[in-house]
Amino acid sequence: MLLSGWLFMGLSWGTILALLIYCLIRTLGPGK
């Protein structure tokens, strides 16, 4: 796999994981 492939995979995964974690913390976090 090329470096650019790793970059795209990492950025895509990172963006989605960050969004999901943010949403879950806001939905299920303290005070919910």
Partner: protein, 518 residues
């Protein structure tokens, strides 16, 4: 009759995520990425998610909760509540009941194959099929397309269909909280867990055949993710990305409207819509992108991948993946995990497809849930028979075209214009933020009002000219299949007309009771 409600926020998020996470996440997405520029495909994909997917999620969640406040769980009543002066808008809402019914007719049958294959995997029934040709023969025998050494008729397939059909009916019968919410609250985490187990196993494959070191999982990931920059210049790639985002989120069907209608007036929709979309993206990009294609690449290599990726969704799911998994230690268990996760993905989607019609009968004709579910089951059981017995004659393709493609984009375009332009952006924005746990950036006002409708109109126009007109004009349908395809089309026209008449009857009844002035 007291209106049903969700018991928890996470319950409705799981239900919407369960509706969105389907076969497309695990089978369609990786093929689309590999065929449309690899990693570069993710640029139009994320652009489409921001400009089309998320706005549509918010629009549908908001319209659904708004309509639910008037006692409507389906689009005809919701559209009427949003534009009371227009006598005809409720008939456009019929698409939001028609579409889910049409998809339900073939979806439950395909879902039943997954249940059947889960058990075949456990019992090793397809283990004798060591080649693609053998696995295709097994599938065609099961579908009743050919009689062979594996199956002598449709009996087995019909048995699994009957079980799946009854299971769907039972979940619908137990209602929003007792049936749908409960199944999705446990089903979605289980399917994600099964997918994570399979992804870990695929990543541990390394290089399965030491004699062919180039065939390995990392190269398989490269097959998906290495960018082809020239793809970004192709309008087809941008449309493919927009289509993938559109179809994966279950937008334009009408099911999100119905699910959101069971929220309370001040329940959040902005964060919930975003969370459901994020869960769907997790299942699609991270899990779906790490399963079938990397595994197939590791075993079959680059040369075979082109035909495997182009072979379509069913080939990947029912032929390639079982072939790969049966080569592993405990292959039967991994095969079961694969098909059972798809079955859960299927049932959490199919129950969402059944709910709009059931809700319509309950809301507009004051039927009990029991009677509404029985009527729905009787009608869909009869209408599914052509899809089962004439599978190879173009019936399912015809149902999928109208229910699963054409009307989705039409419906999404109508509801977006209605929301942003008729209901009005000021009211829409206030409604979207009522009870909201997050504040959506203000530039989304501009996106929802101008960019999303324009995006949808472009997709609609392009697909109509490039892809849909030949299908509408029956180009490529063989003479032998023509009577089956035409009969299906006629049946769909009749179904649409019946639904329009039912809407008209319901409004007449409400008018007589003095509920509507016009």
């Amino acid at each position: 009759m007291a209106r049903e409600k969700w018991a928890s926020t996470i319950g409705v998020i799981m239900a919407v995520a369960g509706s969105a996470i389907g076969l497309g996440n695990f089978l369609r997405f990786p093929g689309q990425v590999a065929q449309n520029g690899g990693g570069a495909f993710m640029i139009p994909y994320f652009v489409s998610l921001l400009l089309l997917g998320l706005p549509l999620m918010w629009i549908e969640w908001t319209i659904g909760r708004f309509g639910g406040g008037f006692g409507h769980s389906t689009a005809p009543g919701m559209f009427h509540s949003m534009w009371e002066k227009n006598r005809f808008i409720k008939y456009f809402g019929v698409i939001g009941i028609f579409g889910p019914i049409v998809i339900y007719l073939y979806y439950v049958y395909i879902e039943s194959w997954l249940l059947g294959y889960s058990l075949f995997a456990l019992t090793g029934r397809y283990n004798a099929c060591a080649t693609s040709e053998g696995m295709v023969a097994f599938l065609h025998g099961y579908q009743g397309i050919v009689h062979n050494e594996y199956f002598s008729g449709l009996g087995t397939a019909y048995l699994f269909y009957a079980v799946t059909f009854v299971l769907n009916g039972l979940v619908l019968f137990y209602g929003i909280h007792g049936g749908i919410e409960r199944v999705c609250k446990y089903g979605v985490p289980v399917l994600l867990l099964l997918a994570i187990i399979l992804v870990v196993r695929v990543f541990l494959l390394g290089t399965p055949d030491a004699a062919q070191p180039e065939n390995n999982v990392i190269s398989g990931l490269g097959y998906i993710w290495n960018p082809d920059w020239s793809a970004l210049k192709s309008s087809r790639v941008w449309l493919a990305a927009a289509g993938q985002v559109f179809f994966t989120l279950s937008c334009g069907i009408g099911v999100i409207l119905t699910y959101a209608s069971y929220l309370n007036k001040n329940d959040d929709v902005a964060l919930s819509g975003l969370t459901a979309a994020a869960a769907n993206e997790f299942a699609e990009v991270i899990l779906g992108g790490s399963l079938v294609i990397p595994a197939a690449f590791a075993f079959f290599g680059a040369d075979a991948m082109a035909s495997i990726a182009k072979g379509g969704v069913f080939n990947l799911g029912f032929v390639t993946m079982p072939l790969v998994l049966q080569k592993l230690a405990f292959g039967n268990l991994f095969g079961f995990a694969w098909f059972f996760l798809l079955f859960i993905a299927g049932i959490t989607s199919s129950i969402s497809l059944g709910q709009p019609a059931v809700a319509f009968l309950m809301d507009e004709f004051n039927l009990s849930r029991r009677r509404a579910v029985l009527i729905f089951m009787a009608v869909t059981f009869v209408l599914t028979q052509p899809a089962i017995f004439f599978l190879g004659r173009g019936v399912v393709d015809e149902l999928d075209f109208w229910g699963g493609s054409f009307f989705l984009v039409v419906f999404a375009t109508i509801e977006t214009i209605l929301f942003a332009w008729v209901f009005g952006m000021d009211r829409a924005w206030t409604e979207l933020h009522a009870g909201s746990d997050i504040t959506i950036p203000r530039f989304y006002r501009f996106i929802i009002k101008y960019v999303t409708p324009l995006f949808l109109l472009c997709i609609l126009g392009f697909w109509l000219v490039e892809d849909w007109l030949p299908v509408m004009l029956l180009k490529g349908v063989s003479g032998a299949d023509l009577p089956f395809v035409l009969s299906t089309r006629l049946g769909l026209v009749l179904l649409f007309l019946v639904l329009m008449i039912l809407v008209r009857q319901s409004w007449k009844r409400r008018k007589m009771r003095g509920e509507y002035a016009a």
